[in-house]
Symmetry: C2
Subunit: 338 residues, 2 copies
């Protein structure tokens, strides 16, 4: 089943069921007005939405309309919980290596995770609006899951069943603000502005065999200014799977229905020390920071610039036939109007 | 105007208007079902709620029922944004001093703030449920505000007008988990479990002259295991006022209606180096950690223990006549059932 949230006059948009090929949608307001409402009552609502999804995919819904990703909010335009892991420890090691630091051994056994802000997500085709492009604007291509209610202190082996939906994420980061914030000791705040999610959220079964071991086994595609930039395998080098990330997040708290948990920047080692770019025959990267780290390690200093107003990022994931699974995130950095 | 959220069968509870003396309430579902709904449409909804509030305070509402804080959720049982400042820099200085570290000069000009989790707040009279009491369980008594929509990059001088409601907070902290999490560099996550808020949220005008300069000028009262523990003035030693905290939070993001921003642990220097306890004639403290810091600085090691299952904390704020303004937070630490 594939779900999306269309923009309307409300803050939470309108829930729709989208066909597998992303061509059509059906309004489901008789079942749930919003995705949060559906998640609040998932065990009752999901089977009803599945039924509509089946009818839609079999061409049996005469009320289906043309689906356009441009009309979408993020599936949850605002959420109660957005916790972003950093499960690809290669990414973390690379960032540290560039400044000559080793990562603590515990990073391989204890997940890194930060508490994100969730009151104002960006639509998947909306501009990334910021007051300045002097802050080292970067994208981070990630996978995320949405849970139902997760009880406190859940064991990782029981956590996988709480994964109800999958999405892609652009976890926008302001690299220039990160060192100062982390030095203060309270983690990210200003350095992690609003994130964007893929137009469509899908149930794990939509991925077939590509969803296993609580990981997505497909390449995550990033195109920067319309050039291929990254295609790492999301299922490789993911040190902590989504069930482990849920268990980490829920160690001392319940997670409410609709909690979003991110994978962190997808990053592959590719049998080399830190991976290679697509131009060099590798699988590339899911953020600019990694390229700059490579440049720093190799050349002593970074040469690739961070994003400026007008720069564009596209994030997508495709099936074997090249069809987009979630619809693509497709965004340009612009100066905020106010 | 005073507002509360009564428990019902839903996740967001039922919005009610409460009388100034906290004795009676009126259901307002013809205007808004939930506090979030009211905040989403505040400019339209607030005047209608004010009208009911006036009638209720003048004894003109025959539909008024007896108000009991025990039946309350936190005013927002779940929220889209919970950003907690640390505006009483004395508190931060004390924590650092105890481990022999100076605070950076920038801490006096650049607010500390962490991104809290907001999907599962505790009711003001509900137990603090945790899997273990070996993690250094502590309360933190604070004041918080709720905003309407705040645009990105707002100037502090324009931010005060976005403060719509005030509450008290118990920002539960797990001190034993903090050093490990902060060492990882991503800030608090497991060390900040669910927070609780006062039964009632009030508009700033309810505080009269005690609300000025975007600060609350009244003592914040903490009672630990039924003994007076703290009564610091929330208006003193608050290095950053709530307008400055809003501007800090909104530097790179919009804040959605219903965003909660906390003051951080209220802490007074009291003309001494780090304050003194109530027993010693001072205004005491708003968390156990501060007492332990004092003990460490004075005696070389802390002697006061953190909270254990069965320990109790009450947080309140009263007017000149000793009447509770927000209703009290009143909680016991217990082992989580599951």
């Amino acid at each position: 089943m594939k779900l999306a949230t269309l923009k309307n006059a409300t803050r939470d948009g309108k829930l729709v069921v989208v066909s597998r090929d992303l061509s059509r949608y059906v309004v489901v307001d008789a079942i749930a007005n919003t995705l949060q409402q559906a998640l609040d009552n998932w065990s009752e609502v999901a089977p009803q939405l599945e039924e509509i999804s089946n009818e839609l995919n079999e061409g049996e819904r005469e009320d289906a309309a043309i689906f356009e990703a441009e009309l979408c909010e993020s599936p949850l335009p605002r959420a109660y919980q957005w916790a972003d892991g950093s499960a690809y420890v290669n990414h973390v090691e690379l960032v540290r290596k560039a400044r000559g630091a080793e990562i603590p051994e515990s990073f391989w056994t204890d997940p890194l995770m930060y508490q994100g802000g969730s009151d104002d997500f960006i639509g998947p085709r909306d501009d990334i609006q910021l007051p300045s492009d002097d802050w080292g604007v970067d994208f981070e291509a990630e996978v995320a899951i949405i849970t139902d209610d997760v009880p406190m202190a859940i064991d990782a082996k029981d956590a996988g069943k709480h994964i109800k939906l999958l999405m892609l994420v652009n976890d926008v980061s302001l690299r220039g603000l990160i060192p100062g914030e982390l030095a203060k000791g309270f983690g990210f705040f200003q350095s992690k502005p609003a994130s964007a999610f893929s137009p469509v959220a899908v149930t794990p079964d939509e991925l077939g065999d590509h969803w296993r071991d609580n990981k997505v086994h497909l390449p995550l595609l990033s195109e920067y200014n319309h050039n291929a930039f990254g295609k790492p395998q999301a299922g490789e080098d993911m040190t902590f799977d989504f069930a482990q990330l849920i268990a980490h997040a829920a160690k001392t708290r319940n997670l409410g229905a609709g909690a979003i948990i991110g994978s962190g920047t997808v990053s592959n080692k590719q049998g080399t020390e830190y991976g290679t770019s697509i131009v060099e025959g590798g699988v590339g990267y899911s953020c600019i920071a990694e390229v700059r780290m490579i440049e720093t390690i190799r050349d002593g200093k970074p040469t690739t610039e961070f994003m400026r107003f007008g720069d564009h990022i596209k994030i997508d994931m495709q099936d074997e036939s090249g069809n987009s699974i979630f619809g693509s995130i497709d965004q340009t950095v612009v100066k905020v109007a106010n």
